[in-house]
Amino acid sequence: MGGHHRQLPTAADFTLKSDSLLHKLPVIGGIIGLAGIGGAVAMGGGFHDKQFAYSYLTAFMYWLSIALGALFFVMIQFATRAGWSVLVRRVAETVAATLPVFVLLFIPVILSMHTLYHHWLEPNGDPLILKKSGYLNEPFFLGRAAFYLLSWSALAWYFRSHSTRQDQTGDLEHTRLMQARSYPAIAIFALTITFAAIDWMKSLDPHWYSTMWGIYYFAGGMIGFFTFFGLVILAMTRKGADAFHGAVTTEHRHDIGKYTFGFVVFWAYIAFSQYFLIWYGSIPEETIWFQHRQHGGWENLGYALIFGHFVLPFFFLLSRHVKRNRVAYALGALWLLGIHYVDLYFNIMPVGSAHFAPHAVDALSMVGVGGIFVATFAALMTRSAIVPLRDPRLPESFRFENF
């Protein structure tokens, strides 16, 4: 029941204790990350090796999608002036604030770009590719990549730095600015994520067309973010070590669960629409993309996606009890984080090989990029309070309840 008169929290209540896991993760994650990427390069046989290039790109796109999902979530909270999410928003702001590190993580992609994008880097007189060379050429590609990565980094830091500065001053101007800037920021985000997905993943196969591609990557990434977010919140509110001291409740987790469920449906809608339009049009240069993925073991991943990325999570997360139950939601979230990787694997890897053949370099790249991502996230988490202490809607978030 409402009407509790809580004291507004102080920085001391919502600062991580020095023995918390997040204080250890920067070092652990950093070591695992560097070892993973180093191992992937060594085992894969260098940056020009096909196995390394494709495995690394999949891992890079995977972790990037989670960070981008966080950025979108934060911007949507300001655009909608959401009250419920204030207590957990700092965690999302911090996930998004890892985006500058992806500038560095993109370097191996550049180093292996002649392996990944040789179709359009060396057109060999292919008339279709030559027509596209005004867009698909090396300097413009690198310039665009710099633009995407720098705009995401700038947006993520803009929101996080205003939010953390408000912790000190309590100035409402920060909230007003972030609200006003969130709308153009969402437009920039929508365009950059679409073009980045086209540049980095779709141009692997430059003969193929799909206008759903950008939103498809976004949809999967949102699931990746909400499940990662939900798991971090679960870990931070575990019994006996609740960093939020009971302030983050089942109600907040329920809403994260609803978002997860919503994007499971959204992903299925986008994935099916892409397939359906290509099926109906039945134009060889479009259907070849799915044709290739219906052979050589890739078809099993396709079925895994239909059932594991939509049917099962849909009926599982449909229940209110599952979204509110710690163990059930954690299981669903781990499953979805795994299947999100299968999704990107199914999209990227078949370009490089006719047969489904998982390789240790896949796992090393995932652990490598993931280690750096988690290390950065943890390091940033320890640098400020874990909730926006003086956000004007914080009291609303304390009182939040679902009907």
């Binding site: 029941m1 409402g2 109906y280 209110r320 009182r399 009907f403």
Partner: protein, 183 residues
């Protein structure tokens, strides 16, 4: 035709959301089953204070949604592959891919109508009159007063004990409501 007026039940008025909230807990703990709370706006947690169980409505939605989806798929299969076999632009007589949009639409519309009519049924709507409307005091339920109504056919209902329960729960007024045939 004149009928002797029946007693609908007791209507108790409260001045604050907190007042009606705690009174609901009292009535719930006293074991009443046929009663309701009426407020001008949703009061957080009132369902828990009343001891309400989860509504069965989501199950109606689920069953109706699945019925709609499966009948849409079955209809398209029957029309395309059995009754009107026509090959259109080289496509198979029946395929699941183009059938999904209709399946989705019918699933949604069945689920929506199931929810709407299920809700009306559970709320015993439509009805044109309710005995509580005969109370002048009750007009303020859309403004600034909070009410609990206990029906006389509740097994625990007793004209005197129930009234004193409501009064001790902090009601600012308790009145008897008759179930008149307004003819």
């Amino acid at each position: 035709m004149s009928q002797p007026s029946k007693v609908y039940g007791l209507l108790a008025e409260f001045e604050t959301p907190a007042g009606v909230y705690h009174a609901c807990e009292t009535v719930r703990d006293a074991g009443y089953t046929r009663w309701d709370s009426l407020t001008p706006f949703p009061v957080h947690g009132l369902d828990k204070a009343m001891g309400l169980k989860r509504s069965p409505l989501p199950w109606v939605t689920l069953v109706m949604g699945l019925t709609g989806a499966s009948s849409a798929m079955a209809l398209q299969w029957w029309v395309g592959a059995i009754e009107y076999k026509m090959v259109i632009s080289g496509k198979p007589l029946f395929a699941w891919q183009p059938s999904i949009p209709i399946t989705f639409e019918l699933g949604v519309i069945f689920a929506v109508f199931g929810t709407l009519f299920g809700l009306l049924h559970l709320c015993r709507l439509p009805r044109f009159h309710h005995p509580l409307f005969s109370s002048a005091r009750f007009d303020r339920v859309t403004d600034d007063r909070f009410f609990i109504a206990i029906e006389s056919d509740d097994p625990k209902y007793d004209p005197i004990a129930t009234r004193s329960l409501l009064e001790s729960a902090g009601a600012s007024a308790v009145e008897l409501v008759e179930d008149r045939d307004e003819g």
